[in-house]
């Protein structure tokens, strides 16, 4: 278990390092942030002063070494745009994205698993077929379009929900969260639904496939023959066996929902990290891009780690040591 963990961490370190090198070279090739930030009316001397001020007059390898040195001391640099530490900026936006992503993934499990279970048990019923047909829409319609449609229907036409933005927040553990207030929940409803539609469909289809696959198996027949109640057969024996693929997918989707909530965030003007990273890429704000991607890499690695550990709990046959 311990060697496995250490090995995983060393791998993670190399991934992070490789990623920072790619970002440094990539941003350097795209263009010079100063060209974007500077007022076009500024004179050439002012331009040179700003380039030197941001350290962009140094050769790229030296800029990278300066960054590495700072990173070792816990400093990932200051944003060119906001003049605040990149980590602080990201941390300030993180709760908004986190609560949105976690709500969306929770919704995908709470809605997706029961619907999938039903569709799997009654594959030929009208409702079962409707659910499956609906799920096709769920993962094929573009998030961007669905988001705008939600706004048009629920905010503009019906006027039930606020169209955009994050509502009132309340503090918990020193962080501002919007799911603690009614106004906050009203603001979160549409973006969370929009973000979860794809995941709901995915979880639903996985669950249905799993159920269809498990039902004809011998151990289910035996369980029934033993006289167990249908509820126990379904919720204990079937459900537990189909959970491995569902947990894998939910885990991975949590990562990508956090990392790529950007479309939903920009449609709903949700002040999360996704909007920050897109704005930062548009102005080549390298410290923020690097810090954000480092964080996302770490996030994926952590989630994968947790998923692997969850496997062992769900399926006693899986052993971490043998997996390597």
């Amino acid at each position: 278990m311990l060697t496995w963990l250490v090995r995983r961490l060393i791998q993670a370190l190399f991934v992070v390092l490789a990623m920072t090198v790619i970002v440094f070279i990539g941003v350097h090739i795209i263009g010079n942030p100063v060209d974007i930030l500077i007022s076009p009316e500024a004179d050439q001397a002012e331009r040179a002063r700003i380039i030197a001020n941001l350290g962009l007059d140094q050769p790229l390898w030296r800029q990278y070494l300066v960054f590495l040195n700072g990173a070792l001391h816990g400093d990932l640099g200051r944003s060119f745009v906001f003049n605040e530490p990149a980590l602080k900026l990201i941390a300030g936006r993180m709760p908004a994205t986190m609560e949105l992503a976690v709500t969306a993934v929770l919704m995908s499990v709470v809605i997706g698993v029961p619907l999938g279970l039903y569709a799997g048990l009654k594959p030929n019923g009208l409702l079962g077929r409707t659910i499956m047909a609906g799920s096709i829409l769920g993962f094929s319609l573009p998030t961007f379009w669905v988001g705008l449609m939600l706004i048009m229907v629920f905010a503009v036409q019906l006027g039930w929900l606020p169209s955009t933005g994050r509502g009132q927040t309340a503090a918990l553990f020193g962080v501002q969260w919007s799911f603690l207030t009614w106004d906050g929940l009203r603001h979160m409803a549409m973006p969370a639904l929009n973000l979860s539609l794809f995941n709901i469909s995915l979880v639903l289809r996985l669950t249905r496939a799993g159920v269809r696959e498990t039902l004809p198996m011998d151990f289910i027949k035996f369980a029934r023959a033993k006289g167990l109640s249908p509820a126990r057969v379904i919720f204990v024996h079937v459900l537990k066996n189909i959970m491995i693929p569902v947990v894998t997918v939910v885990g991975l989707e949590l990562g990508s929902t956090i990392a790529f909530a950007v479309v939903t965030e920009s449609v709903f003007a949700w002040p999360g990290m996704g909007k920050l990273i897109i704005d930062s890429i548009n102005v080549l704000d390298r410290p923020v891009i690097v810090a954000y991607l480092m964080m996302i890499v770490l996030l994926f690695i952590t989630i994968n780690l947790l998923v692997d550990i969850l496997y062992t709990m769900l399926d006693p046959r899986v052993r971490l040591e043998t997996k390597g």
């Binding site: 060209d35 076009p40 706004i151 905010a155 449609v267």
Partner: protein, 526 residues
Amino acid sequence: MTGIYRASARLGAVLASLVCGPAMAQTLTIASSAPVTSIDPHYHTLSPNESFDGQMYERLVDHDAHGKLIPSLAESWSLKDDTTWEFKLRPGVKFHDGSNFTAEDVAYTIARVPRVKNSPASFSIYTQAVKSVEVVDPQTIRLHTDGVYPLLPIDLSQVFIIPHGLGADPTTEDFNAGKNAIGTGPFRFVSYKPGDRIELDRFDGYWGPKPQWEHVSYRMLSNDASRTAALLAGDVGIIEFVPPTDLPKLRTDPRVTLAEVISNRSIFLWLDHSHEGPTPYVFGPNGETLAKNPLKDRRVRLALSLAINRQAIVERVMEGAAIPTGQYLPPGAATYNPDIKPPPYDPARAKALLAEAGYPNGLRITLHGPNDRYVNDAKIIQAVGQMWQRIGVQTTVEPSPWSAFVSRAGRQELSAFLLGWGVSTGEGINPLRAQLGTWDAARGIGTANRGRYSNPTLDAMVEQALRTLDDGARDKLVQQAMALAMDDVPVIMLHLQKAIWATRKGLVYEARTDEETRAVSVKAVP
């Protein structure tokens, strides 16, 4: 008994406030189109920041809705001698923290501007003409310039005044946290959530007319479709930069009122003047490299200009949200020259000119431009490409994101490319110097001259205008210089964008040529 009476009276008041919602009625929610990146008014010369700052801070000299200079914190200003400007300051003005506004604060602000740490684009370009500051008395300040500098009041119309009580080198972070966010403007700072919103309250000690709004919520909604939806849903009272695609729909929507004006932002095509030999993206009709740069020939530039049907672009691509132009400024602006008409659409003459210049079989050009910067930028260059095609110039159109485009344009790697220019000062010397002045790093001229156009006669005329103190004579000179410049077709002028706001019915906005959105100019009408 009285207790019950009091309680019910209080309940009645609460109910009344719920029903009539006076608090709601006095809150104005503004949707801005781009994120405000700082509350520090001297941190970044970025138009979304400056537009926001106008709610909280004020300048010595301001612009009215049409771009004319008007007194703000300075009541009047005059030249004492060739190099000394005297500003008489408005008495009885208070800062949000209660301190009085005096000449000390002006001196403090001018000293602070160039010292802002890590500023990615400093406001010092507007204060650098000031060589020394002399506080005469609390209501009078003299600014000494190096040589004659008639544009100083215009430059200072970009600089927001902060109180000297903030001490030595106040930090940008303290502004963002609200600690330093103190101005003299009609609204005072309450809170700032980056990327989301800024909350403001009415400042009751304001010297000017009392604003109608008790509370202003300044929201950042950069997605065009969401901004329109938020207005239609009634979540915001006013939106800026109405996307042209929504215009036809909004014009007929009874829930919405539009306010529009022709702005100072012109859209044009730069041509490469920097290469004497072959320019990177222009070739002969069969793809052969040319010995010299055809864009150095005025006939070729004029042909490319006459080939463009500006009216069609304005009507079809811009949905009427622009007017064709032949110069940088809109009608009515200072130094606008009514004799410079938008170039006509004349493909036959364009073909003849190309043949006369030695290219009877046309040319091959790649036209570059951004696709996320100006209204419909990518569509405009596609339209131009098709029009050039018709006079035998085979055009490849290459739009790309601003971040990837702008550095290449600045390194003279492109031959023909689309750019825009908002004349922040509202008069013609600004584009003639920054855009068309010969690139000169030592003197700070031609800073935005990305095509490296150079015309010594023009430079001399602009220089002469800059040394002319008489406003009327100077404006004449600038008009002449603009006519001379435009006749040489250094850039191909296309159109001037309209700035468009949309408000909920019951609200009206006084549209501003400088594209700023100000809460005080939003009025409720019965």
